[in-house]
Symmetry: C2
Subunit: 220 residues, 2 copies
């Protein structure tokens, strides 16, 4: 039995994590299997486990990478309110582009990478003259909202299996089901069905951020 030749270029933690990220981006969470990784890197399990603790480690590190990249790319605006909106949108867009990041963040919400996010929000609330005693609750609420929406969106994105069906097709599907509920029992849901079909996730997310900002402003 001939053994396949040993690789000469060094395998490294970085290379492995990048390969994992590519697998995740192209095929979603379920595409990241150790077997797929060994094939892609043409190596074996041992080599991978020598650089990485386990699959959790892999997912967590890949997630941290994406988050860090996003947060460093957010532009600071003169207006703290605008900066905050930009920050929130940055995270939203990142998770929209990499739904698996949302799922992983919902599983481990206290990853170190989110420290920067939390810190930024705290400072911006300070700049917005939020009283100190309310700042903790306000920051927590905002973080929870942003992560919450992002996770929901990730779930919706995961619903589209391979990318065959379009996002709008998915919305049409849900909207159609909502349109067929009993208008007597569910007047609001029924009336909302049309708006659901036309709505823009990104805009609705920003509208939510604005509601919370208005509420926070009302605190002082």
């Amino acid at each position: 039995m001939k053994r396949s030749p040993r690789r000469t270029d060094g395998l490294s933690r970085e290379v492995i994590i990048q390969a994992a990220t590519e697998l995740l981006d192209s095929g979603g969470e379920r595409a990241l299997t150790l077997r797929a990784l060994t094939v892609r890197l043409s190596t074996g399990y041992g080599a991978i486990y020598h650089h990485v603790a386990d699959k959790n480690d892999l997912l967590a590190t890949a997630t941290d990478d994406v988050i860090t990249r996003v947060l460093s790319g957010v532009a600071a605006d003169a207006d703290p309110r605008e900066t905050l909106r930009g920050l929130a949108l940055g995270l939203f867009d990142a998770i929209d582009a990499h739904p698996w990041v949302g799922a992983e963040l919902s599983r481990q919400p206290w990853r170190p990478a989110l420290l920067d996010f939390y810190e930024s929000i705290g400072r911006l609330l300070d700049a917005l003259a939020v009283p100190e005693r309310a700042r903790f609750d306000a920051a927590g609420t905002l973080v929870n909202y942003v992560l919450g929406v992002a996770v929901q969106n990730a779930a919706n994105a995961r619903y589209l299996v391979g990318g065959d069906t379009d996002r709008s097709a998915f919305l049409d599907d849900v909207a159609a089901r909502w349109a067929h509920v009993d208008p007597g029992r569910y007047p609001f849901v029924h009336a909302t069905a049309t708006q659901l079909r036309e709505h823009d996730d990104r805009k609705q997310f920003l509208a939510g951020v604005d509601i919370f900002l208005a509420g926070i402003a009302a605190l002082s």
Copy 2:
């Protein structure tokens, strides 16, 4: 080879789902395996799959049951604002008691059981005189917030593996790590560490709901 005796009392979808719920409540998501179910019900795979489509079906139905039970138990108050707070708290407490419900809802946010939740919120926003054009965004935002926080809490609860370590011990752990971050780089996070140790998830959640309500009021 002797076959174990055939059961005489009828197995039913309800019995299976209740057993699944008990497994989930006692051991978390990873405790629900088909093998564990066959042992608990002293039956085989075939019997279970005869009544249930697959494991997703199991999880989804169990989740629907919990949600429905919660929503039917929420008292309607004269003040729509109070009713809304009660509704949100009801979902919060339910997911706090059954963390797996939070995880499942984040995976499938459009389950029929949430229709009632969405409908109730829509009506309450109407009672709060939220302009119709803003009601859709407002309802979506609130649902996202409630589900988002609930999911985070579920994730934290899942962090405590078997219930050995206490919830406060977990908070102490996170707070300790936050207290040791570089105060120069993360002044806000550092300053927040003490509040984190003392904070009450439930109260903070309610504070978030109040921020939202204040923001809604500012819309009109």
